[in-house]
Symmetry: C2
Subunit: 481 residues, 2 copies
């Protein structure tokens, strides 16, 4: 950015909240998708919604690309900077604006951490349901941008099912407010449209979330199986029974190994896959459902079954599950977390095919996933120091995605398209469909300055189009200056 452009930002923010020294820029050049790096020209750090609005209006005036960033935990490169743009860091907009226990709503700023919402709601017996694995660090703004899911989304739905209203500054600088804390709506779902926009429409300034009563009672059971398929069949049996657990998760042998090493999780001896099922609700209801679940799981021939006897044992089960992603780091210097969906009645088939691909390519794949809704998370292990290893891992990740599409599933369950999957959009949507999406995007952002280069195939941001040495640079995906 020219110093004159920088100086315009200094009319909005004090100098210590405009970061442009190399060491400062370096801290923001990547996100949860660590393979990609782009250095922005500056990071601006607003502390109020008015400052965010002023910054976006200035970007609009200067035609300057921007990406809003919370904790940078995106696994699809959604918060990767644009090389000729700025990062708008929203972490200081972390205020819970209003909590209304009677109406069961909370209004938060985008930089509020996911778990902080539940912390604030807990004294009223309420909680915020969507629980991405990164919930202790990821922000609600990011959850909204990517329509985040989580283990308990089986029962409660994704972020979009919990957002009742959004006040946002569009990329045009206009400030809009959609949804008013009520489920009833007027015309198309304008508020729902904004959720999942991946930062391409503008920036959410205040988000109204619904809170749910905390379940009176949980019953969490862990069952070990000799094969992954048996675990998958048990999932089908639970779903077919009509039970609606809060969560149904599966971890395979490699993931179990990682969790054991990382957090000393314990699993039934001799099992190659673990199923976690959690019932929740009023005490009497859980008691009845628990009997049904026990029958179903007993019939599924587990090698071992272990219900959590108290809150500590429940937390231990979840700790093993939620740490599995990062724990896999102990098994391999690098890994790609893939995110795809298959119809849940074809889960067994999908897992078989992934195992075949793994054998065929000699690339280890760990599976930790939301089995109840068919949302796979294959972790593809590789060693980035080996020549071509990243590319081979990427190729396998792509094959898995195409399998998901072919089976009638989706290229993303909850991580979003970002930069990682933009070239797969055409596998899911026709040219007319993508064209219509682009027109809709242009209605929010006619200049294409809000997080360009994400979601849509092809190159958009000028800085993403240059040719470098790295093969991913050649593909126009990353840039390192």
């Amino acid at each position: 950015m020219s110093s004159s452009a920088l100086s315009k930002f200094s009319t909005i923010l004090p100098p210590d909240r405009i970061l442009s020294r190399p060491v400062e820029l370096a801290a923001y050049e990547s996100d949860g998708l660590t393979a990609f790096h782009t250095r922005p020209i500056a990071i601006v750090v607003p502390e109020t919604t008015d400052e965010v609005i002023a910054i976006v209006r200035l970007c609009h005036e200067l035609k300057l690309p921007f990406v809003a960033r919370g904790s940078g935990t995106s696994l699809s490169g959604g918060s990767l900077p644009i090389a000729e743009g700025i990062v708008i860091a929203l972490n200081r907009l972390n205020r819970i604006v209003r909590l209304d226990p009677a109406q069961r709503i909370v209004v938060v700023q985008p930089g509020v951490i996911n778990t902080q919402v539940t912390v604030a709601a807990a004294p009223h017996g309420l909680h915020y349901a969507p629980d991405p694995s990164s919930q202790s660090i990821c922000t609600i703004g990011g959850n909204v941008a990517f329509n985040s899911g989580g283990a308990h989304c089986l029962k409660y739905g994704m972020t979009s099912n919990h957002v009742l209203g959004i006040k946002a500054v569009l990329a045009t600088g206009e400030v809009v407010e959609w949804g008013r804390g009520s489920r009833e709506r007027i015309g198309p779902d304008w508020c729902g449209l904004f959720v999942g926009n991946e930062g391409l429409f503008g920036i959410a300034l205040e988000i109204t979330l619904q809170l749910l009563p905390r379940a009176e009672c949980f019953h969490t059971v862990l069952a070990g199986y000799r094969t992954l398929e048996q675990a998958g069949d048990a999932v089908s049996a639970v779903i077919a029974s009509g039970l609606l657990p809060g969560a149904i998760e599966i971890m395979d042998a490699l993931a179990l190994e990682a969790a054991k090493a990382a957090v000393h999780a314990e699993y039934p001896p001799g099992c190659e896959a673990v199923l976690i099922v959690e019932l929740e609700g009023p005490r009497e209801v859980v008691a009845i459902e628990r009997e049904r679940l026990d029958e179903i799981l007993q019939a599924s021939q587990p090698v071992g079954m272990r219900p959590a006897r108290d809150a500590d044992e429940r937390m231990a089960i979840w700790k093993g599950r939620k740490s599995a992603f990062s724990a896999v780091g102990r098994l391999s210097p690098d890994f790609i977390v893939q995110d795809g969906v298959v119809p849940r009645c074809r889960l067994g088939e999908a897992l078989r095919r992934i195992a075949e691909m793994s054998r065929e390519t000699g690339i280890r794949v760990a599976n930790v996933f939301h089995a109840g809704d068919g949302n796979l998370h294959p972790l593809i292990l590789f060693d980035g120091r080996e020549q071509g290893a990243l590319q081979r891992a990427e190729a396998l990740a792509g094959r898995i995605l195409r399998m998901c599409v072919e089976m009638g599933g989706s290229i993303t369950g909850e991580h979003g398209v970002g930069v990682e999957k933009r070239d797969f959009l055409g596998d899911m949507f026709s040219a007319d469909e993508i064209d219509c999406m682009q027109r809709l995007r242009a209605a929010f952002d006619p200049l294409g300055i809000a997080n360009p280069g994400k979601m849509f195939p092809g190159k958009e941001a000028p800085a993403l189009s240059h040719v470098g040495l790295h093969p991913l640079e050649k593909a126009g995906v990353i840039s390192r200056e």
Copy 2:
């Protein structure tokens, strides 16, 4: 329409499916909002999705406005014809394309009647949840266009919560397909955006709906109260208890009188308001919840309480409730069904204020509504033969709407904006917001030919702009030629 334009349609359809004689046009000149009439230039009756696509493409080429119509039950004038446009009647696209009980989805054409979906699903123990009062005649295409609700939407949500995928022809003639029968989605909620578009984006050709297991057991109880407020307080108590009934409905004295006269419904003597609460779920769960509900209702001091002892008694309770709207016709030659939302914790206050307005203006108002979600349906009674009576009723309806907005609610809960409420859109949304909506609409329909004159304030269709004798014509709302 010039005969040359008509002749172009005859390349798509046989002559007996292009209706343009006055007697034919007259049958389509109004809808459920009977106060408004507009005569279209022709009605075309496609029988296949390919014919619909060809018709829309021809309209696009001719810049000819069109409105898609199912059973014409819209209560906001959403299917009111455009005077210089055509009606595309979709009743013959009434095929259930595919029903997959294992995946619990059904793919239907837009002309399928709401209840027919449940009829088709019932042999598999499944049902389609959204149940507008007009469900025995209204079509899924209309339900999608207006995001219809119904009594059981308290527990199960609106139509949008049950639409998993839409294949549609946009007003541009492009054919798009969004959502693939999976809850997981990619980017913004494109499919959800289409639901509730009020016919302004294009025409749904195939709709994928989720089916739910039919509840194993129902417990329906009718409680009579001495005052409407007591009934409202009972609703608050039920909601506060954490119970989530399938439906919570209220009928006031005038509505009870109408239901008694029309379907010989019986209510506890001496009651001025009736509350209907329906629990549903697995037998054991309902048994437990029923005890809780009984306690709560007993504490709310009803003058009488009557649980349905069998399926017939349950149906009798619902027959009284669902016939109430049309039954009010027995009390008054004309009435306006209003549709607004207030926060459900302010229900008592809203009802008090409506009663005050009724006393003040001397206009009778009957109340039948979805109490559980604060969705009011005041029925404003008038005699259209009296000079100025319609206008006074309209004015009262408007005051009630503005009260809803002021209380933090909404101008529509489930009937949509249509022509009826388009001038209230500005009470809910800012100029920037409406401008952004218009840009989004233009992304689907750059020529403004899909159901123009609906939803957005001001005049759009040329034929809606002429000045006639009727005051509503003067306002540009209706036209009679």
